[in-house]
């Protein structure tokens, strides 16, 4: 596949921009702003312009645009989505929206785990979603087919728990580069109490016959949330793993996921809609009442 995609994430404290070609990232840019002084609006376009120059591309050589649609900061999402829409509409390019949680889960997708991605939503609430890698061509993922899109669907594989993680060394195997296959969404992004997210993840993982892997954005989970997750996994005899790096959203993940979406035929820029972390405080008077 020689499609060229520009992807970016402006949903959080840092800015990430990627250029993607032929199924892999060819240019990746990370900018960390000083705390409390984000500058996504001023930095995004110069960043992608730098990338185009360094790769010898131009805007007219792009085949598509990918952007995170949330949850995330209001201002960040507006900057990202407005920029993606503006570029796509002006150039007649397709644009695909990617969930922040999906991008957070992407580096950790493997055949053996359901990945719980969560972001702190304050006051004991989290934004959470559960994903699993689509079964590879070799078909090694236990329960993968039976798990497609349906938490709690009947398993086609072995018993969960002991067989969900490999025997022997106790290490988690087979984490190849995640690639650009669209993951299965075992539970869609939603805001909920952290204990509820823990239950949801354990239920989805058990249904898919996989262990649970937790990828928390912005560092460590609150102690209560971590304990709830451990308890929910233990009740179902599931193994629980933790992403060792502080999980972060990379434009590399956004590009990979956008490529899958664009291949599947999505990509109307007008369908890009932000998924805000909470309802806006100020809304048009004509907005339907919640």
């Amino acid at each position: 596949m020689s499609e060229r995609i520009l992807a970016f994430d402006t949903s959080g404290a840092s800015l990430s921009v990627a250029l993607w070609e032929g199924g892999r990232t060819v240019w990746l840019f990370t900018r960390e702003f000083p705390p409390g002084r984000p500058g996504h609006a001023a930095a995004l376009v110069p960043a992608w312009q730098r990338g185009l120059v360094e790769c010898g591309w131009s805007v007219s050589s792009l085949d598509g645009v990918g952007v995170t649609v949330g949850p995330g900061s209001y201002t960040g999402l507006r900057i990202g989505i407005a920029s993606a829409k503006g570029l796509a509409l002006a150039r007649g390019l397709p644009a695909a929206g990617v969930g922040t949680l999906e991008a957070l889960a992407w580096p950790w997708l493997g055949p053996e785990c359901a990945v719980l991605a969560w972001l702190d939503a304050r006051r004991g609430q989290v934004f959470a979603a559960v994903y699993a890698a689509a079964a590879p061509a070799g078909g090694a993922a236990p329960g993968g087919a039976g798990a497609a899109g349906a938490p709690g669907a009947p398993r086609t594989g072995e018993a969960p728990g002991e067989d969900a993680a490999p025997a022997g060394t106790g290490a988690l195997h087979a984490h190849a580069a995640p690639g650009d296959a669209a993951p299965l969404e075992l539970a869609p992004p939603a805001r909920m109490p952290s204990a509820e997210a823990a239950e949801l993840a354990a239920q989805a993982a058990a249904g898919a016959g996989r262990a649970v892997l937790c990828a928390a954005g912005d560092g460590e989970l609150a102690p209560g949330a971590a304990a709830a997750l451990a308890a929910a996994a233990a009740r179902r005899g599931l193994r629980l793993w933790r992403a060792p790096l502080a999980a972060r959203v990379s434009a590399e993940a956004v590009a990979a996921l956008a490529a899958a979406r664009l291949r599947a035929g999505g990509g109307d820029p007008l369908t890009l809609v932000p998924l805000y972390a909470a309802p806006p405080h100020v809304a048009p008077r004509t907005a339907p009442g919640a």
Binding site: L28, L172, A230, L240, A243, L245
Partner: protein
């Protein structure tokens, strides 16, 4: 007083792939950082001929403040160098470069990361330990300039960690 202590101010750091046009700045830092610096030709070769090599630079105010590189070989990432301009040292740039290498190695499918470090380089060893690297062996006389041994360090946990129950 209007004098601000700029040493403590958090930095606005940009990290992206090293370009050939970065090499004059990179070579200046290289020569200030290592007793036996790599030649510019070595860097050119890494950037243009070595398909396993991956090099990044950190910029502050547009200026190259540091750089780092690794070889991505199957599931192992081997760090070749990390260096920071002396005037920007102690500001967390080495830490950011190593974090960036870890995320990029992970996205390439690497599960482990390794590097060599001089026994006399306490600052570097402290950074690597903070990132979870542990000493696993010694290459005797690895650094031919001073005949120093190299400490071999590994980080296995680019893989997910099993939590304790």
């Amino acid at each position: 007083m209007a004098v601000e202590n700029t040493q403590d101010r958090p930095l606005d750091v940009m990290i992206t792939e090293m370009q050939l046009s970065d090499l004059p700045a990179v070579m200046s830092i290289e020569r200030q950082s290592f007793p036996t610096p790599w030649s510019e030709r070595a860097f050119v070769s890494e950037l243009t001929r070595n398909a396993y090599a991956h090099y990044i630079v950190a910029r502050v105010d547009g200026e190259v403040a540091g750089y780092a590189g690794m070889w991505l070989i199957l599931d192992e990432a081997h760090v070749t160098n990390i260096a920071v301009n002396p005037k920007w040292r102690g500001r967390g740039i080495g830490d950011r470069l190593l974090t960036e290498l870890e995320h990029r190695a992970r996205a390439h499918g690497c599960t482990r990361m390794t590097l060599e470090v001089r026994p006399s380089n306490d600052v570097a060893q402290a950074l690597y330990r903070k990132h979870g690297f542990v000493a696993r062996g010694v290459r005797p006389g690895y650094y031919s300039d001073t005949n120093e041994d190299a400490i071999i360090m590994w980080k296995d946990s680019l893989e997910p960690e099993r939590t304790r129950e």
